[in-house]
């Protein structure tokens, strides 16, 4: 089985057809009939592939696609197409699945779409800061710039910025002021 597949499609017939073709190939999540609150549902459902009928996207469609991509960068978004759709919208999908595709192509198209997205981390997401990240966080909270941190820890600025991105991803806090509060409340500051 390769990954969680979320199908968003209003037609019972199409949904059932896809289920019967893809059963055993993917871990099929409970399908949705519409795109309501889709962004909010991603952290709960954790799909690797989103197969969605483009006509369900609210206008402007590209905005929701961008939000979805930002919310879950490793997910591929495949358009399930059976009629004329604005080419500008189709362009924003990772891949397209035409409803007239022969049965034996369907799962391959979905699997191939994953190759076009950034690698998802295979390990379970870890929200604990590493020792190095903690060191960087302390220096950020003390008001050091990335350049100063790089000099102090003998690492490149690029590495410092990667640590900072990971700190923000793990804590959800973006600003220096917010990180200072975080560090203080966790007794990290001397």
């Amino acid at each position: 089985m390769s990954g969680n597949l979320l199908i968003v499609e209003p037609s019972d017939i199409i949904r059932e057809g896809l289920f019967s073709i893809l059963d055993g190939e993917f871990n099929l999540l409970a399908p949705l009939r519409n795109a309501n609150d889709l962004v909010l549902r991603l952290p709960v459902l954790q799909p690797d592939i989103l197969l969605i009928n483009p006509t369900l996207l609210p206008v402007p469609a590209n905005m929701l696609l961008a939000d979805l991509r930002q919310a879950r960068p490793s997910m591929s978004i495949v358009g399930l197409v059976y009629q004329y759709i604005d080419p500008g919208i189709l362009q924003s999908f990772t891949a397209l699945l035409d409803i007239r595709e022969p049965q034996n192509h369907v799962s391959q198209i979905l699997r191939d779409s994953l190759a076009a997205t950034p690698e998802a981390s295979s390990e379970e997401e870890n929200y604990e800061l590493s020792d190095r990240e903690r060191e960087v966080l302390i220096l950020v909270a003390q008001g050091c710039s990335s350049k100063e941190i790089a000099d102090r820890l003998f690492i490149s600025i690029h590495t410092v910025n990667t640590h900072r991105k990971n700190i923000t991803r793990k804590t959800g806090i973006k600003s220096v002021a917010g990180l200072t509060v975080y560090a203080t409340l966790h007794n990290l500051l001397p």
């Binding site: 806090i173 973006k174 002021a177 917010g178 200072t180 509060v181 203080t184």
Partner: protein
């Protein structure tokens, strides 16, 4: 053609029903609530506001895809008074309210929380005050000179927009600090009320930053082009470069 945006004939009450946060915006134009069934056009005429500018603000605050254009029938002389009224509202009403609750929560949560929350909000208040001061002392007078056809835009640093987004960023970190890391049980009501207040202020400040980015900066470019007698085409270019 109907565009789906607010028009001069939209009823004020319908507009607020569509986007309730505009209830904060309307009074900044000197238009009091209690307007019955009157349209936007009638109310703007009654209170001496340019309907084009009023709608520009309300549409920008409501529709993420609203295409801003500074054409000649929008009178932007109300822009600076509007921005100043917004500053007053943030500084004199919202921030003191947030500071008061944050102080009370910090005090009740215990020593180690009180100090760090006080410091955060003191720093934040200073950052906001400095930023607004800078706009009111340096940027706005310069624009008012340009409106009279004098001076130049040279003193207006393009970087002032960046410091605006920093203000929004550190404020938007605060709610999750409050609900993730504070022992919240004894004061759950005050905490959740405060989180709502902060989120409301963050989104208000975001719109404020958007107005400066999409309207104020292109307007400055337009004015300085007029002052130096050049064509005004470059105003659109600034707008495009800044939009993401």
């Amino acid at each position: 053609m109907k565009t789906g945006f607010f028009t001069p004939r939209t009823k004020m009450a319908d507009m607020i029903a569509a986007n309730h946060t505009l209830i904060l915006v309307v009074p900044r134009f000197g238009i009091p609530l209690g307007f019955g069934e009157k349209s936007v056009q009638e109310l703007c005429a009654q209170y001496g506001q340019d309907v084009g500018f009023f709608l520009l603000v309300c549409n920008l605050y409501t529709f993420s895809d609203y295409p801003v254009s500074l054409h000649e029938n929008v009178d932007l002389s109300g822009l600076i008074p509007y921005l100043e009224a917004s500053h007053r509202y943030y500084l004199n009403e919202r921030l003191p309210h947030i500071v008061r609750h944050l102080t009370s929560i910090g005090d009740r949560a215990g020593q180690q929380y009180a100090a760090v929350l006080h410091k955060f909000i003191d720093d934040y208040r200073k950052e906001v005050t400095d930023h607004f001061d800078y706009e009111e002392r340096e940027v706005f007078p310069c624009i008012q000179q340009l409106q009279k056809g004098k001076g130049s835009a040279a003193q207006i640093a393009a970087t002032f927009l960046d410091s605006h987004s920093d203000l929004v960023e550190s404020l938007s970190d605060l709610p999750q600090i409050l609900y993730k890391y504070l022992p919240g049980n004894p004061m759950v009501e005050e905490l959740s009320e405060l989180v709502f207040s902060i989120l409301q202020l963050s989104s208000d400040l975001e719109k404020h930053a958007l107005l400066e980015e999409k309207v104020l900066m292109p307007y400055v470019t337009q004015l300085s082009a007029q002052a130096s007698g050049q064509s005004v085409q470059s105003a659109g270019m600034v707008d495009e470069r800044r939009s993401r």
